[in-house]
């Protein structure tokens, strides 16, 4: 029934559009700047705007999406239990939704029940696949919570140092520099360890990002700056556990994960302590917190696949106010500032005959999916496959203006240090230094126009 009404609405929409006789509005290349996710765009500006299913999924697909949605919300508890057992024994949070509030970006705190920040750890060197080297006794991620009777690996302490700066025209802004320290270590930690804090990223549009052809992404790379524009993006190639192969990294703040399936499976294992077929070994294996229960894998394949499908089919919120004169001005400045060298507005997903909703979509993600040197200010100084300690993946900007609505008051960047879009811009350095300077030297009116444009995304 739902499907029929959707088709009905689509027909109506087409009729209405046709009636307007403005065929030029959707041109032959299907470019429409409002439709950030192509056909997978929703018009929703509420706090739940990141949690919508792709429009027009088949009844079967909608059912799988809903099952994944339900699993995404499930709170795990300590085994044994009749419902959702298997939490931990060490973990960062007890459900997907506890970090990804409203399917959005989370809160930059650690160890609280609504915390969305986790900290990766490694020691110098690389593993057999070129990835980070696990810290003995700790692995590659710090689990700062534990079920009753077990000891968390550590407590993560976050301190901020706020410094006030001024734009050339005198307007003030503040940047807060975080410092991360570990206390309550459960066992000795190797000297020379490296930390990388990571905030839970928003969930929408991930299927579309996965569907961008590798050739498209690689074609945007310019690692030796052959064109002399100062931008040297390159692809991250990583080890994909699900397929046991080396692949283009797409997900995570440093593009260190190749596929949504691996991303979801790793999050279950590392963040919640739920073993699955791709990561069947408890995150505490070999440590004193290990439960020794013969209950692995704790997650059914069907559930894992449903959650992967859920993540792949969350629609992108549409842009607002695209014809607003201020936003138009801001968009022009965004281009003049060469922000678009990395935050690429328009990409097209590959042909996918098996799953049409992701196939051949003109999308506006504002990313090139490449990693770039962002300067020492943002650096975690922890290499992750081919991304060095100063490199980060270009964060997609679609939906940016809704962060403050979905996750009030809204936090930005890989560790949530930025409390506004202005702060996020002013943290840019490295390859983005000149774009940052461009922004900061604009008049107040033009800076506001650019922010207004970014908030319309």
């Amino acid at each position: 029934m739902k499907k029929l009404s959707v088709i009905g609405a689509l027909v109506l929409l087409v009729l209405l559009l046709a009636k307007c006789q403005k065929a030029a509005q959707i041109s032959a290349d299907r470019y429409d700047e409002r439709l950030s996710g192509g056909d997978a765009t929703v018009f929703d500006i509420t706090s739940h705007s990141f949690g919508n299913m792709f429009p027009g999924l088949s009844g079967y697909d909608a059912e799988v999406h809903s099952l994944g949605d339900a699993a995404f919300n499930k709170i795990f508890v300590t085994a044994p239990a009749p419902i959702n057992p298997g939490l931990g024994t060490i973990f960062n949070n007890n459900s997907c939704i506890s970090c990804h509030h409203n399917d959005g970006i989370g809160l930059p705190t650690a160890g609280e029940s609504n915390s969305s920040l986790l900290v990766r750890i490694s020691i110098p060197g690389t593993d057999e696949h070129g990835g980070p080297l696990a810290a003995p006794g700790y692995g590659l991620q710090l689990q700062d919570k534990a079920v009753f009777g077990k000891t968390p690996e550590c407590k993560v302490n976050i301190a901020y140092n706020d410094v006030i700066y001024n734009f050339p025209d005198g307007e003030a802004y503040a940047l807060r520099t975080p410092t991360y320290t570990l206390t309550n270590l459960y066992t000795a930690l190797s000297a020379g360890y490296m930390l990388s804090p990571r905030l839970a990223p928003p969930m929408y549009g991930l299927g579309l990002l996965e569907a961008i052809p590798e050739s498209t992404i690689v074609a945007m790379a310019d690692p030796n700056d052959a064109n002399g524009d100062g931008i040297k993006g390159h692809a991250n190639y990583v080890w994909d556990v699900a397929t046991q192969s080396r692949k283009l990294g797409r997900f995570g703040w440093k593009a260190n994960t190749a596929s949504l399936l691996t991303q979801v499976a790793a999050a279950y294992n590392q963040d919640i302590g739920i073993t699955n077929n791709i990561f069947p070994v408890e995150n505490s294996f070999g440590q004193s917190q290990y439960d020794g229960l013969k209950d692995d894998p704790e997650l059914a394949d069907s559930t894992l696949n449903a959650v992967r499908f859920y993540a792949a089919t969350l629609a992108v919120p549409a842009r607002r106010d695209v014809t607003d004169a201020t936003n138009k001005r801001g968009e022009l400045l965004f281009k003049q500032g060469k922000c678009e060298s990395c935050h690429r507005q328009t990409l097209t997903t590959g042909i996918n005959v098996a799953f049409k909703p992701l196939s051949n979509q003109v999308i506006h993600p504002y990313t090139d999916m490449l990693v770039h040197d962002m300067g020492p200010g943002l650096a975690d100084n922890r290499p992750d496959f081919l991304a060095n300690g100063q490199e980060w993946r270009t964060a997609p900007l679609w939906g940016l203006g809704l962060f403050e609505k979905v996750n009030y008051p809204g936090y930005y960047l890989h560790d949530g240090r930025a409390r506004s879009i202005t702060e996020a811009i002013m943290w840019h350095g490295g390859e983005a230094e000149s774009s940052k300077v461009f922004f900061s030297t604009l008049s107040k009116v033009d800076r506001d126009a650019m922010l207004s444009f970014l908030k319309s995304l």
Binding site: L16, F43, I83
Partner: protein, 358 residues
């Protein structure tokens, strides 16, 4: 979340408005209902009083638990159970408008996480940890809140006797109740004019509010939440225990209050729609606004809410038992909730998009 229709209807509206013509559908519209007054009535008749009520009931619950702890008789235990259900009622009704601080400040998971982490609760009660208020405050939501209290005072199967409750369980009960009361107080204050005054962010929607740039945005949020709780009850809370035929997967299974919880959730939708709370009816409402322009739609929504409520009332004797031997009543309720949800996401959302201009 399924807002496909919402998205498409918005697209249709954009298409319409891009025609640049006056698309007033005409008809005999009356403009008797003031949108601002609808908003004010929602806040003053439903929003604020509902949160005040939760806090008042949680105070009574805490008092009855204090009485039980001092004099642990079966009669006092029964009184505490009644007080728990009485607190549950306004809380479940308030889930009809689950936005604002209840969401942003994490009050919902702090009070009402489910499932309870029973293994951990048993372990901490069995440990030598000193249980204090700050100790309970520091626990994750799934080890305290409504269901932590429910677990102690009703017990598995709902058959616990006063004499069965141990000293350690009493310690846990005492501070879990206090912690819940404190959270309900914080929730109440988050809306109160004397507190953080979130209510003002609602009443100034489209008029300087930092939360809602336009009234349309506020109304859309309200309707989205009304639809959201229908989905949560019908395809969330009911579906898993029903499909898997497993009553241990019910939310309030210790107290057998599951069906009542569901009914109160949908009562919350009716409260919001008609601006009614606990017998007090607002001078105007979203319902009146709809009726003034589309009487048939208003009737349809009210009828579908009533159908959902009465279909759930037939889920007897308890949801836990009905899963096994009264299944058609549950599936009828699911159908009624899905129908209501579709109307809210479809017709009512289109109505808001079309008629709320600013």
């Amino acid at each position: 979340m399924k807002n496909t229709l919402l998205g498409l209807s918005c697209a249709a509206i954009l298409a319409l408005s891009s025609c640049g013509k006056d698309n007033n559908p005409g008809g005999t519209q009356t403009t008797a209902v003031d949108e601002q007054e609808v908003i004010t009535q929602f806040v003053s008749v439903v929003g604020n009083p509902n949160y005040v009520d939760i806090q008042a009931k949680a105070t009574l619950l805490n008092t009855s638990i204090t009485t039980f702890l001092a004099t642990p008789t079966d009669a006092n235990l029964t009184a505490a159970r009644v007080a728990w259900k009485n607190t549950r009622q306004p809380w479940e009704q308030a889930e009809g408008f689950l936005f604002g601080p209840v969401e942003d400040e994490n009050y919902d998971p702090t009070m009402d996480s489910w499932p309870l982490n029973r293994t951990d609760v048993d372990a901490l009660i069995g440990s030598s940890d000193v249980i204090t208020l700050s100790y309970v405050d520091g626990l994750d939501g799934f080890s305290k809140g409504f269901h932590g209290i429910e677990y102690i005072i009703f017990g598995p199967g709902g058959t616990r006797k006063a004499a069965d409750i141990t000293a350690r369980q009493k310690d846990y009960l005492k501070f879990t109740s206090q912690s819940l009361l404190n959270t309900t107080t914080a929730l109440m204050n988050s809306w109160a004019a004397s507190g953080d005054n979130y209510a003002a962010k609602i009443t100034t929607a489209g008029n300087g509010s930092t939360a809602f740039k336009t009234r349309k945005e506020l109304f859309t949020t309200i309707v989205t939440q009304m639809a959201g709780i229908c989905e949560e009850v019908g395809t969330g809370k009911m579906a898993e225990p029903f499909t898997e035929r497993d009553s241990t997967k019910d939310e309030s299974s210790y107290s057998h209050n599951t069906t009542t919880d569901f009914i109160n959730n949908i009562q919350g939708v009716l409260n919001v729609y008609t601006a009614t709370y606990n017998g007090t009816k607002g001078t105007t409402s979203l319902s009146a606004l709809v009726a003034s322009k589309n009487l048939a739609l208003d009737t349809k929504i009210k009828t579908q809410i009533q159908t959902a409520l009465s279909s759930m009332a037939l889920i007897t004797p308890t949801f836990e038992k009905a899963i096994y031997d009264n299944r058609d009543k549950i599936s009828n309720s699911q159908t009624a909730l899905a129908t209501l949800q579709a109307t809210l996401e479809g017709d009512l959302t289109t109505f808001i998009q079309t008629n709320i201009k600013d």
